[in-house]
Amino acid sequence: MNSRTSNGPTPEPREAAPTLSVRGLTKVYGPRATMLRRNAHRLTAVDAVDLDIAPGTTLGLVGESGAGKSTVGRLVLRLIEPDAGKIDLLGTDIAGLSRGELRRMRAKATMIFQDPYTSLDPRMPIKDSVVEPLLVHGGHSRSERYEKALAMVRRVGLGDAHMERFPYEMSGGQLQRVAIARALITDPSFIVCDEPVAALDVSTQAQVINLLNDLQQERGISYLFISHDLRLVRLIADEVAVMRHGKLLEKGDAVRVFEEPEHEYTRELLAAIPGRSPRSRRFGGLAGCDGETGTADLRQEVA
């Protein structure tokens, strides 16, 4: 297993070897055109996307629903197979990995999902869910595993009693902490966070974001933080990439993108963030916005 400090075959060596480097990532859904089926309906969910994430940093991937953000998140971990493109994860080209190698890679690069109510097995007590990644990657005795799990559960702010609970006995915020503990227990270098707080209420959102921030500083983890909520991205991201209809419209330093957005769509997204005071909020009213953007803006307002 390559660690991210070792120099993998990176196509464009910038600074340190990036945790994640993606070139021309493409995913097309729908049937391929064949002799019998000529004009098959195909959807390009992800269209030639390039991304880089440096060690210990966070890339915020933003865009409206259906922009292909989550698909990118799953593609870079090869949870779904890309149709084209090159993915270098922790210095390894993951296209060439066998199933076993890919499975072992998951100890170092994993994912946190949007809905904590459904991302944990409802039939497993919390301790078994947290321990599971350690168990499948081996190398620890049973008592070591549970000790590590307990330490991890405490680290994410839960108590010993939670270890014995079942998911239906816990709140969304607690469950997302469990999901974080589960993801972190194998000490990964890279985590895809797919809308990790979208299912939580606003007061818990900040707590979970802060936890992710703290853990990043402690452990030097890189995040691919997927969200439609620009306010959250502003809190956590070092760099921002904006997606729409499967294409990457703009990427760059988070401060720069928020202060001087280059792309018209980024400006629209930013304008759609609700203001601090209800009086400064406005619906629609964007110069040259089409109907579709109008609904996206409304969604932003509601969220």
Partner: protein, 293 residues
């Protein structure tokens, strides 16, 4: 460590008791469980309970109606009907377990694999299963017995083949539902092997509907055994099964109608208990364990 382990067993007991409590609140289910427990005990201790040797022929006593000596009378060969019906309980329940067991062992892995991986294997397998389901069940069983030869074990194998499709379908459908759950993707993202995902995450999700299906199928098997034995394709002559007893009773029906009741009532009680237990299980397991909330 020991402290929170004891908490753990308590929590687990609490969760399991939720299903049990719902099952116990269902009076029909409780009664059927009691009936099945009694039937099970009868099956185990049949030899001790039987007042007489079930195969002892006494032609002098043939077709005597119920009396103090032979509570349920004697059959055409003078054998004690009570002893035979008790011993038949064991044979029938074991045969039923055998058929359901075979169907589980074959149907569950096929259903899980087809439901989880899908693709061409699933399509092919599902076509074969559909074809199997299109054939009338009894005719199919008769054909299988004709190929394998008569006998109780072969009859049970035939019935197993008949009920495999229902197991396959139940398992495949619930596997498909479970596979699309986020926690399965989460398990993959954590690096679980497919084997572990199927064994630790899919199978527990499939278990509740499977349990219901198994208890319904067991009642189907009891009836099927009776039908096949009645047709002379199941158990053979000296052996005591309910189906065979019905067959023998039917030839003396006009003179000794009392012979038909013991096996008929046993079959009726058993299938009623199994179906009601199936209903109770279905209600008790309900959304609660599949959803977990």
């Amino acid at each position: 460590m020991t402290a929170h382990e004891s908490v753990g067993t308590k929590e687990r007991r609490r969760r399991r008791s939720r299903v049990l409590r719902r099952l116990l609140r269902n009076r029909a289910a409780v009664v059927s469980m009691a009936v099945l427990a009694v039937l099970g005990l009868v099956a185990i201790f049949a030899d001790l309970l039987a007042p007489d040797d079930p195969n002892k022929v006494a032609l002098v006593l043939r077709l005597t109606p119920p009396s103090a000596e032979h509570w349920l009378g004697t059959d055409a060969l003078g054998r004690d009907v009570l002893s035979r019906v008790l011993v038949a309980t064991r044979v029938d329940l074991l045969a039923s377990l055998q058929a359901v067991g075979i169907a589980l062992v074959v149907g569950v892995p096929l259903g899980i694999v087809a439901g989880y991986w899908g693709g061409i294997g699933d399509s092919l397998l599902s076509r074969v299963i559909d074809a199997l389901m299109m054939l009338p069940p009894l005719i199919l069983a008769v054909v299988v017995v004709a190929i394998l030869g008569p006998g109780l074990s072969n009859a049970m194998l035939a019935i197993a083949i008949v009920i495999i499709p229902s197991f396959y379908r139940v398992v495949r459908a619930s596997t498909q539902t479970a596979s699309s759950e986020l926690y399965i993707e989460s398990a993959r993202a954590s690096g679980c092997t497919s084997w572990r995902i199927l064994w630790r995450h899919i199978l527990p999700a499939v278990a509740p509907p499977l349990l219901v299906q198994a208890s319904f199928s067991a009642s189907v098997v009891i009836v099927a055994e009776a039908s096949l034995s009645f047709l002379g394709l199941g158990a053979r002559a000296p052996q005591a099964t309910w189906g065979l007893m019905l067959k023998e009773a039917s030839s003396n029906l006009t003179t000794s109608s009392y012979l038909i009741y013991p096996p008929a009532i046993m079959v009726a009680i058993t299938i009623l208990a199994l179906s009601l237990l199936g209903d109770g299980l279905r209600d008790a397991l309900g959304r609660q364990t599949t959803d977990g909330r």
